[in-house]
């Protein structure tokens, strides 16, 4: 049924908008902490994606035949979409610092490190129990409280999906509470600590 399908599309798009906007904020802070232009560029790419997705989302909501009683609920839906777009813009503003090549004041890195939610780099060693598992099987978040934001494999940045298979040599960029960082490093069996 057509109507049902639009409903599902709207649900999926809203979920993706929310997830992407929050991922972008974490990636943007990571790009500053690691002074990494590739990560900042990833945020810029995602921002364009969010802009497109948000437009499609609004068009899709507007093409639903909305009764006057429903209009308030749909307005709420549209506003939630706008919010995710705002968050994505804020993330882009943060990543912009790195892309413009500004040399941020040291307090900036200190503040990001000191915040409740921090960003860490973890290297997956050959011995790690994670090697060969998918991210779904690895349950990194349940085990450590850390979210894997991005995986660097050789020179490529991979955005983690549940069925991404973890390989030895992968580098995780993960965010979460500071206490989880040690657990994550234990799990990835980091041989050496990144700065």
């Amino acid at each position: 049924m057509v109507i049902k399908d639009t409903f599902k599309d709207i649900v999926d798009m809203l979920a993706e908008l929310k997830d992407t906007s929050e991922l972008m904020v974490d990636l943007a802070y990571s790009s500053i902490l690691l002074n990494n232009k590739e990560l900042a560029q990833e945020v810029a790419t995602l921002e364009e994606h969010v802009d497109d997705l948000h437009t499609k989302f609004e068009l899709l909501v507007l093409t639903r035949c909305i009764s006057p009683q429903e209009s308030k609920d749909y307005l709420g839906l549209i506003r939630l979409g706008v919010v995710t777009e705002k968050i994505a813009d804020a993330a882009m503003q943060i990543a912009g610092v790195v892309l413009r090549g500004l040399q941020p004041h040291p307090v900036l890195k200190l503040a990001i490190k000191e915040a409740e939610e921090t960003v860490v780099h973890a290297h997956v060693s050959k011995k790690s129990p994670l090697v060969g598992k998918t991210l779904r099987e690895a349950q990194v978040h349940e085990e450590t409280g850390m979210w894997v934001l991005c995986i660097k494999r050789a020179d490529k940045w991979i955005r983690p999906k549940p069925d991404t298979v973890i390989e030895a040599g992968d580098q995780f960029i993960a965010s979460g509470y500071a206490e989880g960082a040690d657990d994550l490093k234990r799990l990835t069996n980091a041989e050496k600590r990144m700065k």
Partner: protein, 202 residues
Amino acid sequence: MHGLDKLEYKPISVRDLLVEMKDLSELMIDLAYSAALFNSRPLAEEVIEMERRVDNLAYQLDMSAMLAAKSPRDAESLVAVSVVASAADKISDAAGDIAGIVIREIGIHPIVREAFEKVEEHLTRVEIQKGSVWANKTLHELELAPKMGVDVIAIRRDKEFIINPEKDELVLEGDIVIARGAPLGIEEFERLAGRTMPAGRS
């Protein structure tokens, strides 16, 4: 809508201000989505209150950053701090916008609840029942974060909220606990907590 607070310079370090702005802005997003999901006006009001605080912090930070700049080089490195702080402020405004949807009773479409079943980070709300094994334990003792990757972002006790409770906070009978985490962790949390609250009235 509200009167704006009078501002004056206070000697607070840029670093402390930025840490607080970053922490608050990220917490506010989850609290605001919770307010929408559980249709909780009181929680939405807390978010609006926090938004005001972040607004004030943004001014304080800019004042401190201005005073810290003694040379063009200082200005270049401090402008990055100010840009990031203003981004945190934008994020807190976005959270305020979500809270506004609840406060203005604009309505939360069923699609929103369905979408929240699909997002990476799940939010839940449980009530601590009489005689629950969780009652009178601290959050630290419950080991929610290490065992299931779940963190408590707010506790409602009587009419008051404890936002972002400390680890030594006791959980009491009748408390409503709002938490975030990965789907599997949240499922376990709900199972152990005993009873989840239906969406709707808060």
